[in-house]
Amino acid sequence: MRMHVPVNSRLAKLLGALLSLAVLAISCGEGDAGDESVDEIAEDDSDGTAVVPTVTTTVAPTIEGGITPGGMLRVGLGAEVDGLNPGANSMATSTYLIDFTMLEPLAYFDAEGNWFPWLAESFERVEGSNSWLMTLRDEITFHDGSSLDADDVIALFNAQLKDPLIGLALQPSFPLPFEGPAVERIDELTVQFNPIGPTEHFPVNLTSQLGMIVPSEYTEATQANSRKNQTLVGTGPFMFESRVQDDRTIVVKNPDWWGGEVYLDGIEFIIQTDQAIAADRLAAGDLDVVITSNPDAILTMRESDNVNRIENLLSSDNDLMMNTSRPPFDDLRVRQALTYATDRDGFSALISQGTSEPADTMFHPDLIWSNPDVVQEGNAPELSQALVDSYCADVPDNCTDGRIDMEFQHSGPSVVQTRIADLLTAGWQEFFNITVVEVLQDQLISNVAIGEWQVVAWRQFGSIEPDNEVIWLQCATADKFIALNWVRYCDESRDALMLEQRQTADLGRRVEIWHEIQVNMNESYAYVFMTHANWTIGSHERVQNICPQFAPTGEEIFCSNAGVTFFHDTWIVE
């Protein structure tokens, strides 16, 4: 068979794009392979006033005696990734962890959750237009010896934009067909981005996959041969050494990194899909670091004396979603009935096992964005019967024996997902005839994207910058073939609010708007919020200084960005 630029819209790519949109991973509880998500957090805690979420750390004080360079750090990851190329592959927690050792972003979040320029030197809005001007740092070189310039940024950005599915992530700001260049070269180190709408928060987009810079030669080489996606070239503190998919990826220290000395000789990322076993291996000293949101693994780490933990108790939400575009969940009464019959307490106790906190809205209660008056209903099955009776009287076709016919899809094969299905259906079955369908995770995401579903357990939201959540809530895609507004719920007034907060830097007004949006979401009954996930970075006691890490320019880097962290300031003591 011939090998050439392959058919563009492979399923894998769709998923890649969907995942790369920054904040998604299905499957609460995160049991087995492939449950990943990426979102932003920072530290700072106080009640209802923090802009960014809480991180609990239980790190033993650094051992006296100074830094000891050398050694390989063995990092256990719960899921393997398709490839490492930010221009072509899905970026989830595992990908970010691996890629951030070799690549550097144009901008990133500091410890307070504000963005700062990293490979970029500065960003500024172009007066009188929606455009943003970015100047790159001078004299940064890639691992292959070439130097960073505007062409590298443009090649990557165009590759992402042109990629039909990763381009989806850029649609809100750069909708196709795009008139005029989306990104322009001004001079060797200056690039101009031309988003279509006004935004006060543009550089935030470049803290993710979209701003992780590879040389233009690499981008071209990967487009010619997709096998090259399994390698990586960047400017970062470590360099690509070797990779065997589903097994391990090895990076070695970059002695010439512009950010200064790197202590470790290298890092070995090891795929360990059963994360509870990974936690065991960590306690036994067989692994140095394990990053997970799996409750079993977190509990095992909590019980181990020689494991330090950095727990991010907010992260994304575990929730249920109902497809409001299809019967029977197009009817508010049915959505209410399901919500009341949902065993949120059981979920919290038996699935999360107390590792994470119950959720009432998309925001953790400690956040300034969170509306304390909104309460997620559930565990009130006594309220369901009347609603079901009323619906079945109106639409007898969708009911059998006085119960509403419905389908619940979950990903699998997975023990945790099966348990979640058992738990939920036990609560619902008094009012619903439930067909449980198990599909592969890829297929589930795909089914949800095209609206071929009724109810699913999902994980999303939790960005540090709420503006990143707009894409999931706006009407723009609600009635499209592929909808990023998964529940396909459209409310014009909510759209107007979201647009308003995008265009203002006034924190007070933005908070007000998000409070209102949460009320709207609560009353639409399209989501049932269950718990806020807990992303934990566990490290063996011999590993020193997971956080704080500092960017080359001195800013303290945001620790545990939903499990995503850096390792250039980490060392090992024997």
């Binding site: 399923l11 196709l176 067909p177 997709s226 998919q245 795909s446």
Partner: protein, 336 residues
């Protein structure tokens, strides 16, 4: 002898054709290959689009091509519009040259690359299992025959009977619990970083796979040895004053190993099936796990290549065992 080999060879080729055709048509008739290439676009009714009943949806994915063009391209690239028989023949001629096409799921990656990456772990596991099985079965089989129908033999036969009744997965779980998690003697997961770690981390999986095989070999070898020991040449040797040990290892064991070789061929199927499950329990990145994933996501090229290679290996091993048996055993050799 030669005509026997040739007719067996012809049969072998015929069986392989049937096996591959069965797998090929099953995957094509029962699954939906298009969905796995273009994702949800497969649901798009392109005929309706061309008749103008549905608006073209070029905006959703690609600026340069309409969705229906993408679908048409995919169909052309993977020959989905051709009749089944033609596709099968094309696939067969490509595979014969070692080209199994590209995977549906991981874009553009040749299937042969994927399998090349996955086979070593599986093969190591299976060889390891056979080594353990034979290492246990031969001494225990000899010992059982030596003490035939006395207490040690009885105990051995009960143990091996029990071992045959333990499912692979159950033994896998129990061993993982006892040695991997509780005692922590062996690592509970695969570690390929060095030969030593590989040897220790594959021990429990190989033991899981090997114990059932060992029980089978042991029972067979013991029975066979007991029969052999009744034969004239053994009595003669004994009369000549040779020691039991000498008789056992120099004279009796060799002919009895032939039956072990035969069973080795038959057991290969069980070994491969067992490896599928054991790889799943111990999370070994082998061809079994790859195959399970590929089957679930209807990644036909990978499934077909995997099934073809496994079935070929299986049939060829049995063929070789037949030949070897005829060549090694003087009784059979004399007859032909």
């Amino acid at each position: 002898m030669r005509s026997l080999v040739l007719s067996r060879l012809a049969q072998l080729v015929l069986v392989l054709l049937a096996v591959t055709f069965l797998a090929f048509s099953a995957m094509n008739v029962l699954g939906d290959p298009l969905f796995n290439i273009v994702g949800p676009l497969a649901e798009l009714d392109c005929d309706a689009v061309s008749r103008g009943e549905i608006a073209s949806t070029s905006s959703s994915l690609d600026a340069t091509r309409t969705d229906c063009e993408i679908v048409a391209e995919a169909k052309a690239e993977f020959r989905l519009d051709e009749p089944l028989m033609k596709r099968y023949v094309l696939w067969l001629t490509d595979s014969a040259r070692g080209d199994f096409g590209t995977s549906f799921a991981s874009e553009g990656v040749p299937v042969s690359d994927i399998l090349k990456e996955k086979f070593p772990a599986s093969i190591k596991l299976m060889i390891y299992a056979e080594v353990i099985a034979l290492g246990l079965a031969i001494p225990l089989g000899v010992y059982g025959a030596y003490r035939a129908n006395r207490r040690p033999d009885r105990i051995l036969s009960v143990v091996s009977f029990g071992a045959l009744a333990i499912p692979n997965f159950a033994l896998g779980v129990v061993l993982l619990y006892v040695f991997g998690l509780k005692a922590g003697i062996f690592p509970s997961s695969y570690d390929s970083s060095s030969f030593r770690t590989e040897l220790t981390s594959l021990f429990l999986p190989a033991l899981t796979l090997g114990s059932g095989l060992a029980a089978g070999y042991q029972r067979l070898l013991r029975t066979d040895l007991v029969t052999t020991l009744q034969e004239d040449f053994v009595h003669m040797a004994r009369a000549k004053g040779m020691t039991d040990r000498h008789i056992m290892f120099r004279h009796a064991l060799r002919p009895s190993l032939f039956s072990v070789i035969t069973v080795f061929g038959i057991q290969t199927g069980a070994l491969i099936g067992g490896a599928l499950v054991v790889e799943q329990i111990y999370l070994i990145p082998g061809v079994g796990r790859e195959l399970v994933t590929a089957v679930v996501r209807d990644d036909f090229p990978v499934v077909l290549a995997g099934v073809t290679i496994i079935a070929t290996a299986f049939v060829v091993i049995n063929f070789a065992v037949d030949l070897l048996y005829g060549w090694l055993d003087p009784r059979v050799r004399a007859k032909s």
